[in-house]
Amino acid sequence: MKYLRSALTGKCCLAGVGLSLLIPLGTLAADADYTLVIRDHRFQPAELTVPAEKKIKLTIENRDVTPEEFESHALNREKVIAGKSTATIFIGPLEPGRYPFVGEFNEKTALGVIVAQ
């Protein structure tokens, strides 16, 4: 409804309607893919928004030379990622909410949260 109303108010919002129709179609076909990058013992982005009630394929790219362990009690996941390498983790389907995670080997700086909505 929100998109419909705004679409009526201006041309530029027509593109928005198109996108809002396309995105669900695109993501229904396969698992949704998301990427986190580790650099200088920090996650980028530190907050990642993903769709709720959907299985997510999370790719984590460690650009540091040191290994890191992705750990989340909220998501019930843990995985070691060697230095200069990439790992894949499947999460979800998630209830809407906030799911914090850490890089266990650098807990002070490597903090992040996955927001399912």
Partner: protein, 275 residues
Amino acid sequence: MFGTAIIVFREVLEAAILIGIVAAATRSIPGRNRWLFAGLLAGLSGAGLVAAFTDVIGSLSSGIGQELFNAMVLGVAVLMLAWHNIWMSSHGAELSANAREAGNAIRDGRRECSILLVVVGLAVLREGAETVLFLYGIAASDGAAASTMLLGGATGVILGVGVGYAIYAGLLRVPLRWFFSATGLLVLLLAAGMASQTARFLIQADLLPSLAAPLWDTSAALPENSIPGMLLHSLIGYDARPAGMQIVFYATVLISIAVSMKLANRKNSQQQGIA
């Protein structure tokens, strides 16, 4: 330093608890210490190897190599612990009655010891590899802080081993009458907990459906990163937010080992009745 100690403690704890329980459970088997030590050494060298080849293992099977590896190590450990418990149900009585005269039991005891070696080796391998990687990361990143951090690591190892030893010493104080039931029950719960972890890795790799995730959430009442949560996780496989599939694995392993133990025990007492 304190943070390092906690992390290393967490990694070491699981292996230390397993070794404590298994060492107590096999106390009447001759030559047990040698096998235990061999298992520990094999595990440590394996941990170094796994740590060095983390990137290779991780990239196998299009990125789910690590999950497969962990699930396999855990799966083998579950089988070994099951075998140990079933064997103990049929020979435990002989061993405790008179270890020297129970010829058959001792011959089987050697096979039992090789099981012990594998179980201890695998536990040290899995938990040790993560500790090695963590300490390597510290040593590689900041030179000045490295020595205090490594001191923290050593503290963590000592604390973890301390808990394992406390469990071992505590179990040895259990009166012989209940000793085999007590260690049998602990090994049974260890195996079930490992089965649940196996399922978790297979779900993480998208090889198994989670069924319901999470089936329940007790993280507010008993968080998994609290000390009691950590102990219960290592002892009975406590998980604050388990997937339904983990519970299926847990229950299946728990029930099938328990039933096999009952059957082995009954068969053994029948045979003794005839003789």
